[in-house]
């Protein structure tokens, strides 16, 4: 049961901040600032009921099943797969359920340790590490995610460095807007100047001062230095000339069954703003977690736990509940696609066309926890050379190859392998 106290305080502070910033934060327009490619990783736990996702006759001739049906309006901008595998799971010796492997493997393409932690960075963070020049290098959002183990972590800065998603929309807002100090007005100008001096000092303190340190400690302070630099960068670019506005009434707590849909929808709105305003071009959204239990009331699924329902064969009613939960997730994804598609850009194509979305999951189907034929999908990217409206047979290929494709879409065409090299054959034919 989360406390509301400090969020309420935080909210008041935010409101105050927005009040002073108001003259400089203009209304949202429907035109995106950036036309650089964007990447969004989506993840939900527990897979999908096999047979209810989609079925394929040929690349362009396929039927959406009950689960994929909510995505129908975006059929031309999506690619589904048959036969995509997670072979990295096979070489993870960890003796626990495959859920705990699948979350770490999904976007890293690496085997996981005995605690479920992957041995390399996730693709989004790899792309970030190759250099992005945005206010915020990447934004990680999520809901229904636990904090205590690898089941709830899909994004990794490096081996052993999981990045926790922001789970409260109000906090996500703070992450995006916290550096948005207005640059006009005397008091505000002075405050901004002092904060710049402070961050400049703090950066030199941690990045430049020569301290006698061992290798491990050096690594720790390097990360510290990078964190300060990142905050400093977000302050350097004030938002006074931008056209971004946060949604009203942001939720100040983590999701529960009653608020899960609202929280996700607010995350989706914030993610859209972050991309359309050029605050970042890399994001992720965790819709629950591997082995997760939280079920939205709005899913109308007759179960108390997503994971338990995913064992559909052995639970009376699990089958229907499992499908309904997946449908509800598909509706959330569809909502994100619709939002992105509604944002025009300065060039041809909508924000969706300039964004590659990868929707992954930990396992294929909850009943057998298979790592084969995982129901992944990609969306958007029309302006990045991706041709939708297809269901590709990629039998025998691993999700690693999809991660390579993501690097290519983001402009990193020199990437030949991702994760374990021997699991890779090269980018998938998404064009």
């Amino acid at each position: 049961v989360p406390t509301t106290k400090h969020y309420r305080r935080a909210f008041l502070r935010n409101t105050a901040l927005m009040a002073i910033a108001a003259p400089f934060v203009r209304t949202l327009t429907a035109e995106a600032q950036v036309v650089e490619p964007c990447l969004v990783l989506l993840f939900h736990g527990n897979g999908h009921r096999r047979g209810q996702w989609a079925s394929r006759r040929s690349d362009s001739d396929f039927d959406l099943g009950r689960i994929a049906a909510p995505l129908a309006p975006h059929r031309d901008k999506m690619i589904l797969f048959r036969g995509l595998n997670h072979d990295a799971m096979k070489r993870s010796t960890w003796a626990r359920t495959k859920h705990g492997k699948g979350s770490g493997i999904a976007f890293t393409g690496t085997a996981v340790t005995s605690e479920g932690w992957p041995t390399g960075p996730s693709v989004d963070q790899y792309i970030v590490s190759r250099g992005v020049r945005t206010r915020i290098p990447s934004i990680q959002l999520g809901a229904g995610v636990g904090d205590t183990n690898a089941y709830g972590r899909i994004v990794y800065a490096a081996e052993g460095r999981a990045i926790a998603p922001v789970q409260v929309p109000l906090e996500a807002y703070r992450t995006l807007f916290s550096g948005a100090v207005p640059s006009e007005g005397d008091a505000a100008r002075r405050l901004l100047a002092r904060r710049r001096s402070l961050l400049d000092f703090a950066r030199r303190d941690v990045c430049d001062l020569d301290r006698a340190l061992g290798v491990e400690d050096r690594r720790r302070l390097d990360a510290h230095c990078e964190a300060i630099r990142e905050v400093e960068r977000s302050l350097a670019e004030d938002l006074s000339s931008s056209t971004c506005e946060a949604p009203a009434d942001l939720h100040g707590e983590r999701a529960n069954a009653g608020t899960y849909e609202r929280v996700l929808d607010q995350h989706i709105a914030l993610l859209t703003i972050a991309l359309s305003c050029g605050m970042t071009r890399v994001g992720s959204l965790a819709l629950g977690q591997a082995h997760g239990g939280l079920v939205s009331d709005a899913a109308d699924a007759p179960t108390g736990s997503h994971h338990e329902a995913s064992h559909h064969r052995s639970h009376v009613g699990g089958d229907e509940a499992y499908v309904r939960i997946s449908e509800w997730y598909a509706r959330r994804v569809a909502a994100l696609l619709a939002r992105l598609d509604a944002v025009a850009t300065r060039e041809d194509g909508t924000l969706l066309d300039h964004t590659l979305l990868v929707w992954g999951t930990d396992i294929a189907d909850g009943e057998d926890h298979s790592e084969e034929d995982v129901p992944w999908a990609v969306f958007g990217g029309g302006s990045l050379g991706i041709r939708g409206g297809r269901m590709l047979d990629v039998s025998g290929r691993n999700a690693n190859d999809l991660l390579i494709s993501a690097c290519h879409a983001m402009g990193l065409r020199d990437v030949e392998t991702f994760g374990h090299a021997d699991l890779c054959r090269g980018p998938l034919p998404l064009g």
Binding site: G146, A193, V206, A223, H224, E308, H311
Partner: protein, 577 residues
């Protein structure tokens, strides 16, 4: 052996986390529950492969000897290397306490920071504490608030003729606050850097605003944020290192001026002075705060906020009640620690302590004007029978004997339980097979299954013995109309093994068990080191455990023994880069 142990440590902590996560993930169920049939393949928690044979006898070669006894292979006359000194980022709680102790207020803003990961049972595992971007954003904002709050009351916060000689006052503030915040004196060069920062700020800005920026710069400095445990040359530098180690262990906070004074004289390297200082610190009121933090970690109190209960079955369960549960354990730990001779036995067998009005009602006990509840000694016995612990180890709608049993066996008895390959964690749901059965009988079903019985024959009987408390820790004699059978069997404790009935008898039997006493001391050593116990700790740990027994399980003696031990105090040199 060490690698093997790391593996089992890893899986043990993993299972604790999974258990807890499962509790979190289980959301409140609807009134209309679809009946779910039992999953025949589900094996509740653990399968047999790792748990064959008698618990307590692990001499099959695949396991290491039980912890707490010094294995023959380690020669304690030639002690192994000490830890290499490292940077340890302060935890949220350590930051909050340090700020409260230095600034007199405002530490609670640290609540906003992301919570540390739980590793083993702890939140102070330094390997896992980073200053990453999420932390940075929260911390920069929070520390700015602390700094500007202090600067807004500058005259009282740092008395100095501010209006007459600003420059002099700034220099004094930097020197004096720097020594307090960084837990050692600042070099001349450092003082200059902060003074220069002040001077570089717009002179039209108020002095308060500029001082706030300087204080903030100190708060975001690595010199404040990290405890540098690197071994140094010279008694003075070593003494400053030791001062921080002592204060964050004993007080969970920054050294006071008296301790820093001893460090300035370079005297903390002298065993007698070290002991005197530890004794002095143990007399201070902060000492119970520090010890309570250890108890809170050990009993999962930082996670009580995650407890969810079914609103139909437990309509009164809310945040306020959780607050009382947290406060209850804190108060029980603190008051026991503050009492002369307060012992582990007292923690486990007390039946009168401070608790809030809601808890008093839940316990059906009278609460006097000092907030002390007198509990029925037939129903309650110390920490293990507090409502918070019993709630946390239960499901949202019913008890979970397996969870309670597992907690006792793994957390309190330091038993290593291996997780079998591909085990599915599941819960016995109500269904056609289980109609008319009590919780105990439903859970007992899986002991009949061969693949599960190996471990569960040891775990479950422990948990069954606590069935006379419901899922929020209320005393009960019936469940769903069926009388409670609270007979259980204690295993893995050596002499204390055997049948028992009820949580009170279990708590008493544990308190008398040497295995439990040794485990408790081992947990404290883990907490002190901020990491799992390693081979190099074996000799020191054995001494600490012996000492603990000889002191009649005195809590303060335990802290003393660890605080002055070589493995806690001394550090080896890091390899050169």
């Amino acid at each position: 052996v060490y690698a093997a142990k790391q593996d089992t440590d890893a899986s043990r902590s993993q299972l604790v986390r999974i258990l807890a996560d499962e509790l979190q993930a289980k959301r409140q169920e609807r009134a209309l529950l679809w009946l779910m049939a039992m999953n025949a393949r589900i094996c509740f928690l653990l399968v047999a492969t790792s748990c064959t044979g008698e618990i307590g006898s692990v001499g099959d070669g695949a396991h290491e000897p039980p912890r707490g006894t010094v294995p023959d292979a380690v020669d304690c006359s030639d002690p192994p290397e000490h830890d290499v000194g490292r940077l340890r980022r302060l935890t949220r709680a350590e930051l909050a306490n340090s700020m409260n102790d230095i600034f007199g207020e405002d530490g609670d803003v640290m609540d906003r920071l992301p919570r540390e990961p739980q590793v083993e049972f702890m939140y102070n595992s330094y390997e896992d504490l980073w200053f990453d971007t999420t932390f940075a954003r929260g911390y920069l904002e929070a520390s700015a608030e602390v700094a500007s709050s202090a600067a807004s009351r500058l005259e009282s916060f740092f008395p100095c003729p501010w209006s007459e000689r600003v420059d002099g006052c700034v220099r004094e503030l930097v020197t004096s606050m720097g020594a307090r915040l960084f837990r050692k004196p600042l070099g001349e060069e450092s003082v200059e850097r902060y003074v220069t920062l002040f001077e570089s700020l717009d002179s039209d800005d108020s002095v308060n605003d500029r001082v706030a920026t300087v204080l903030e710069a100190m708060l975001v400095s690595p010199d404040f944020l990290y405890r540098d445990e690197t071994s140094r040359d010279g008694d003075v530098d070593e003494s400053f290192r030791i001062a921080s180690q002592l204060s964050y262990l004993i007080w969970a906070s920054t050294p006071d001026e008296a301790l820093l004074e001893q460090a300035t004289l370079g005297r903390l390297v002298e065993p007698r002075v070290l002991r005197d200082q530890v004794e002095r610190m143990l007399e201070h009121s902060f000492a119970s705060r520090g010890f309570s933090q250890f108890i809170e970690y050990l009993f999962d109190v930082p996670r009580f906020r995650e407890i969810q209960k079914n609103e139909f079955i437990y309509p009164d369960f809310d945040d306020e009640l959780i607050d009382e549960m947290v406060e209850e354990i804190r108060a029980l730990a603190s008051s026991t620690f503050e009492t002369e001779g307060g012992s582990l036995t007292d923690l486990m067998t007390a039946n009168s302590w401070s608790a809030g009005p809601r808890l008093a009602e839940l316990y059906g006990a009278r609460r006097d004007s000092d907030g002390i509840v007198e509990l029925d000694p037939g129903q309650r016995s110390g920490l293990l029978t507090t409502a918070g612990v019993l709630s946390f180890t239960s499901l949202p709608d019913k008890t979970r004997p397996v969870g309670r049993g597992y907690f006792v066996l793994s957390r309190l008895l330091c038993r290593e339980l291996e997780i079998p390959p591909e085990a599915e964690i599941g819960l016995p749901e109500e269904g056609p097979d289980t109609e008319g059965l009590s919780v105990r009988e439903r859970f007992a079903l899986h002991i009949e299954r061969e693949e599960c019985a190996g471990c569960h024959q040891h775990i479950d009987p422990l948990g069954f013995g606590m069935e006379n408390y419901d899922a929020i820790g209320r005393w009960r004699t019936h469940d769903d109309g069926l009388p409670i059978d609270a007979t259980g069997t204690l295993v893995g404790t050596g002499t204390a093994d055997g049948p028992f009935e009820g949580g009170v008898e279990l708590a008493h039997r544990l308190a008398e068990s040497r295995v439990f006493q040794d485990c408790f001391a081992e947990r404290y050593v883990q907490y002190a080191m901020g990491r799992a116990v390693a081979d190099r700790d074996v000799c020191g740990l054995g001494e600490v455990q012996e000492n603990f027994i000889e002191s009649n399980l005195s809590l303060r003696d335990l802290v003393m023994a660890v605080a002055v031990s070589d493995s806690f105090v001394k550090r080896s040199r890091a390899e050169e880069e």
